[in-house]
Symmetry: D2
């Protein structure tokens, strides 16, 4: 009935790295938030305070910035793979490394109708995400990559119903055949390979998610999420599973009738809390075991 150390990992979270590519007059910008985590033989640090195997989190930070030079041309997935492999290959006590990245988009400023060479405006709350997990060395080395996005806030003003639902003694909700549907989508997809055109694929997935949200006549947010996931898997062989989490950001039709005004789906109150929260995974039936692909680091608090 002993007490033992269980799973453990450590790293440097939220390195705010900005990379400017300035080899030509038209600069490029990459703005990322990088978190690193190492797994391995660190029991002595926990049990007796012996740091001999502990690569400092400060060193992980220095390494993340040093490797950022390659971020200009590479995608965040390639950067993450290189960084994770470095820790596993070069730091002997490390048996696994996980890199989590948020990628903030900037749009070129338009001046006199022309995109400017070295000025950008931050666009959107929307954030592209990725995770890379690498385990083992040499021929035994394996890598798991997920892509994703979060905070994609999207709304449709019609084309959404919710009716025919299960009712019990606490059910007072009225069914509706026309409502506003809005969410702030989080999606994460798992790749079955690391041979991917990462940036093109990301643009393609994002486009499908928006397309399905707009075009599917929704009988429930559940249905919309499934249709999103299915369409992504159908279009992209490299993706074996996609996980979707979608708050139902309620827009309540405001009762103006008491003031003698009609409100035919025109004036809404956008409520903060509570919110519905719908989560689903869509997967291939032959998807390989996810291994550590979904073992989060910074998200799990």
């Amino acid at each position: 009935m002993a007490i033992i150390l269980g799973d453990h990992q450590y790293g440097k979270a939220e390195n705010r790295i900005v990379r400017i590519v300035r080899d030509a007059p038209r600069h490029e910008i990459r703005d990322v938030n990088v978190s690193t985590a190492l797994r391995g033989d660190f029991a002595a640090a926990h049990l007796v305070g012996d740091q001999a195997n502990v690569l400092p989190t400060d060193t992980q930070k220095q390494t993340a910035y040093a490797f950022a030079k390659r971020l200009g041309r590479d995608s965040i997935e390639e950067y993450g793979l290189a960084l994770a492999r470095h820790f596993v290959d070069e730091v002997s006590p490390v048996t696994g490394a996980r890199i989590e990245i948020e990628d903030f988009a900037w749009t070129r400023a338009v001046v006199d109708g022309v995109e400017h060479d070295h000025t950008w405006v931050r666009n959107g709350q929307e954030v592209r995400t990725a995770s890379v997990t690498v385990e083992g060395r040499g021929d035994a080395q394996r890598a798991w990559v997920t892509g994703g996005l979060k905070d994609l806030v999207i709304l449709k003003s019609t084309g959404s119903e919710f009716r025919g639902f299960y009712e019990d003694e606490f059910t007072i909700l009225e069914p509706t055949t026309d409502r506003v549907m809005a969410t702030s989508l989080t999606a994460r997809w798992r790749f079955g390979t690391t041979q991917v055109a990462w940036d093109e694929l990301y643009a393609g997935v994002r486009s499908i998610l928006v397309d399905r949200f707009a075009l599917v006549h929704s009988l429930a947010l559940q249905q919309t999420l499934y249709e999103m996931g299915r369409a992504v898997l159908e279009a992209h062989e490299a993706i074996v599973e996609i996980r979707l989490s979608a708050p139902n950001k309620h827009h309540f039709l405001y009762d103006l009738g008491r003031f003698g005004l009609t409100n035919h789906g025109e004036v809404y109150h956008a409520d903060d809390r509570p919110y519905g929260l719908i989560q689903a995974s869509v997967t291939r039936d032959d998807a390989p075991d996810p291994g550590p692909a979904w073992h989060q680091y910074t998200g799990l608090v």
Copy 2:
């Protein structure tokens, strides 16, 4: 040496109103955050708890939603003027009303290269703002309007210097002739009239702010702000004063030399705090007295 009641106001803050215009298959969306404040003869409520003159904040909320039907076609400034005038004209104890509005932008979803009729994606952290203050009735009624924006995050990767500054015994900063300059701009401008093409003017001002940030070779953020303000006043006769507040979001060149790597303005750390904060007003020398135009309600905490 008596103790007396000083300035006071009250209202309903942050009414989250979404207005859908659906008269045609191509819907429109307006997504706003409306705060109302009333000023007037409310001393009895403070001094003896007598509410006879107090229009409830709940009533102000109902009124804000009821008036939202006009938001579809009108600008936020017109909506604010109508709402403020209603309170001053119709509620006898009220001598002045202030309406503050945040306007959140949405972009139509693009599906198969075509803008969708009733689906949008929230774009940007950037928020358009306005305030309306109305005092008095009938011929004595006056109105003050300000427009603005906040959280316009903008960055340039070159074209910015900072050198030749004042030095004292605590000065260790190195001068630079090439740095990243970034800010999250807040701007608010005061109108000298209420006869304005509000939406067109807003687009024009925003464009000038971005243009000046991009094109002015900056010797200091102070200079850039002044050039922004001057250009706005030169282009828009309706504006008599503009106030700008700009955090200098520091991007520190990362020292990679200790790892044998060159870093020619390529890899930066985007720091959170502290940040420089530069504030300036640019005004016409014959600008009318601002009166209550700048007397904030929700911002002043």
Copy 3:
């Protein structure tokens, strides 16, 4: 190679319920944030938009508020168990329910040295947490409960070292034998039973966590976390596993020597990002399988 629906759940997140117990002149307050999630036979909602099995999230909200009457006397764990069992027992399509709760503490206002009967001040950012998962009906019903806390911000100004660590070519950190150590602790512990004096146990665990942070001479945050976890398990038989996640909130000694001032561990810069992040589990070697105990709902985004 078909595409199929994977794991899915849905519910109402962040019901902000305040419960006043007012049977006596000395009132009591409970202030909670309740999220509900249902698991079960909901494939038809995803696949074809059929809601016949879907208990609306609005109904889940109504139920959470209705059950809140018992919150006054009961602990959050008992409330969660009752609510979860209700969904599983009474709603036929539901095979499992998960309830996640945040509990915000209030302290009685002290007036003239005496605790007031019906006025409180919110204390701390610190939040008590719990999760309850119930699966199955009748004799086959099982329940998993976790307790926890988050945002316990704690700091010690001495008694912390970090030296003797692994070094590579990116290591520039200097070892230290005396530093500030600070964190914002998240801890979650899993119970092996539902026969627990929940509130007393919570107070006991919190006290141990603070005690160990203060008294253990720390050679690394890793060591402190393990000692925290071990002490909790040693003191509380009902707990079979504890998971700890601790950002190392860096306090950098400020270089005042360049201004001719000494700084013997007196003036620090509290940095925001990046931060170290240390995570560890401490467990009994005979702990039962966790089952769905750690399968988060609202935390996983």
Copy 4:
């Protein structure tokens, strides 16, 4: 009709300084957020980019940290006065300086019933605030000081009414003789002198604010605010004016009657937005002119 530079100021905002006093085994901690702003002859920086008069914001930061050694024994007001006077006295282009400070409270960890010498837990969201403005040199030098607090979240479960209010066609609110009243109080008070026992006075003011909130039977939040302000001015001669801003954090009685349950003021929904917002100043009728005392720096965005 020229365009001219109006008011302007600049500085370094949000220096996160932690000061440990460790002259004895029982350490002390001060945790502050310091913002500095300089006013003076900086037109050339704005108009032509000439920095000769501009003391860098980085230098202001260094100075704030260097002066932090005195924070251990001194109050935040004394620290602010010293720092502001330094800028005005020693930096020739500076004619005025404003220092704004947030002071975060920590409570000693209690271990085995005894306060620990060097471990603390952050308590409360509540923040003590201060501002110092200094203008002029030598005999002409003047100083204005304000104290304050923000985010004091306080609630009473009875002893609050709201009825007898003004009604119009948009009024649907029901009067009540017993409701929950809750706010997150912001208060700022202006001193008529700099000869003050700052820390004792702060504790006294905070105590009065809580006392009045608890003991005044409230007919409106307006009345409670006025009683708070009056009591503070009556008790503290050094204070000449106090400004209060109080969101009415609505707690709506939840309708459980539709489920056959009584709800005698027991179960509430704590709503996020919108919220009432009540603001008032209480002042002495012979209060000196406030001068620049209320001219905010970081708050005004």
